[in-house]
């Protein structure tokens, strides 16, 4: 039996549930030189802002046990340059395009969502969880009111489905998830990175120039699975689960916890072919287990 790997998520059809996570895949050009990225379920593009940003000073990265910290600080060419210079080529590659957006104010988020809808991206992902910028970002994502305010404004002005990306740096992520759902979010994605820090004991300096950064990689997988499970139980809205997924088993685990789509980020750095290998492994698993549609895995965990 051959499993149907496609997933319809917030009204958008994905070839399979594996999606490149924002910030790890640029605008698809680079990995597109290594393999045909139309094989992917979708691509969440590098976080966009209303105007171009140069990002944070270096070093922006530090390795950690089974993970890494980053503090890029949303370096990007701005939403207009993305629409003019990047989106047409990305569209031609034939993959679902999810535009990740960050604003300083709710209206800035709304304005970007409107521009991107007109430019016909498939979906917007509202980043209220970037830990590496002073204003905006996580400032909105750590309070139910902040999330609701941004979500309402984006929903009001977006012509495409709206996915809200949640921060794990909160006490009760289910509460934040409900606030986004109540404000009209069509989908949720989680988790963004966990705030962390490393210090060089010889120089007594933080390894990152910004002192702290976002932790990603296999080290955070169990935290992500737990949060996806908590959120999926708390809301009706479909969930894209991510955080530390590097093998097909991790993707299956994320789906069993309640995710309909699975984001893959840091694993691309270790193995540029990680995503296509995950898709193949997941398909084999579904076939061997007699799973007719891969979506049947979603929420399939048998909890105690």
């Amino acid at each position: 039996m051959t499993a149907d790997m496609s997933v319809t998520f917030a009204g958008v059809r994905f070839r399979n549930p594996i999606v490149a996570a924002s910030g790890t895949f640029g605008f698809g050009r680079e990995y597109g030189e290594l393999y045909d990225i139309s094989a992917l379920g979708g691509v969440c593009v590098k976080g966009l802002t209303a105007r171009a940003r140069l990002g944070n000073p270096t070093p922006r990265i530090a390795e950690t046990p089974m993970g890494m910290l980053n503090s890029v600080g949303l370096q990007n060419p701005g939403v207009d340059a993305f629409i003019a210079n990047e989106l047409p080529d990305l569209r031609r590659l034939g993959v679902v395009v999810i535009a990740n957006i960050s604003g300083n104010t709710a209206s800035e988020y709304g304005e970007m969502a409107e521009k991107l809808s007109v430019a016909r991206v498939d979906m917007v992902e509202v980043n209220v969880s970037c830990p590496n910028v002073k204003r905006g970002g996580m400032m909105f994502g750590t309070s139910p009111d902040g999330v609701a305010e941004v979500t309402r404004e984006v929903k009001r002005r977006s012509g495409v489905p709206v996915m809200v990306k949640l921060s794990p740096n909160v006490t009760d992520i289910a509460e934040i998830a409900r606030a986004a759902e109540d404000a009209g979010a069509d989908a949720l994605s989680l988790i963004n990175t966990i705030v962390g820090m490393r210090i060089d004991v010889n120089t007594r300096r933080p390894v990152l120039r910004m002192n702290t950064g976002g932790l990603s990689g296999p080290a955070i997988l169990p935290v992500a699975v737990r949060m996806v499970w908590q959120v999926a139980r708390a809301v009706q809205t479909p969930v894209m689960g991510m955080g530390g997924v590097s093998r097909w088993e991790d993707a299956a685990e994320m789906m069993l916890a309640g995710a309909s789509l699975v984001g893959v980020g840091t694993a691309n750095f270790s193995d540029p072919h990680a995503m296509t290998e995950i898709i193949a492994g997941l398909e084999k698993y579904a076939n061997e287990r007699g799973v007719g549609r891969v979506g049947e895995l979603t929420g399939g965990v048998m909890e105690y």
Binding site: L54, T58, N70, V72
Partner: protein, 251 residues
Amino acid sequence: MERRDCVITENRELADGVFSVSFEAGEAALSARPGMFVHIKCGDSRILRRPISIADARGGEMTVVFEVKGDGTRWLSRRARGGSLDVLGPLGNGFGRMGGRVLAVGGGMGAPPLLFAARTADARVTAVLGFRDGGRIILEDEFRACCDEVYVTTDDGSAGERGTVEAPLGALLARGGYDLIISCGPRPMLTAVARLAASFRVPCRVSLEERMGCGVGACLVCACETARGGAQQMSRVCRDGPVFDAGEVAW
């Protein structure tokens, strides 16, 4: 660029903690140009690959020379001949076309990519190589085999000329006749080389180093401030470099 598993053909310690590892790289070796680098996976438990400049490529074989700096490079230094390495590359832009008379200026672990350039350039090359002390000198014989002249300096004077590369570089530039400077090494040395190159009006290309993530230009971790076409921007060392025109780097 491609990812491939490569069989190690040689692992040699050139100086205390400095290793030269060669491996079969097939097509990747053929497309390698001086100044480009490879991104090597250093064991399953390390998430990030290690970017290392290519010290040589010939006959389907590639060589990297690196210093043990931490767990990843220690792991790499312990790979034996016959073992396998997961290599992504070749990546980045190299030194480009070189002709006429070229000055290759290297500091410490910046010397290896210059050797690849000196050996393959259709040019007469003068090498100026600086090291901390005599015990850390690497690849001197190899440079002598392919360069017109080789000048070696050490910070402590334990071998070669005492001091940094600046003194011999300044003297050579004053003598004149050079068409291009290529350089790789610590940032303060590169800054000095770029300044000298500008004052003598000799074109200069420098290979920069920065902590990297993906290595292919997608993650924007290895940023470097540049001014291309007059506008300030953040370039990617892995993709837009690692070799840049000295004049466009914001020193």
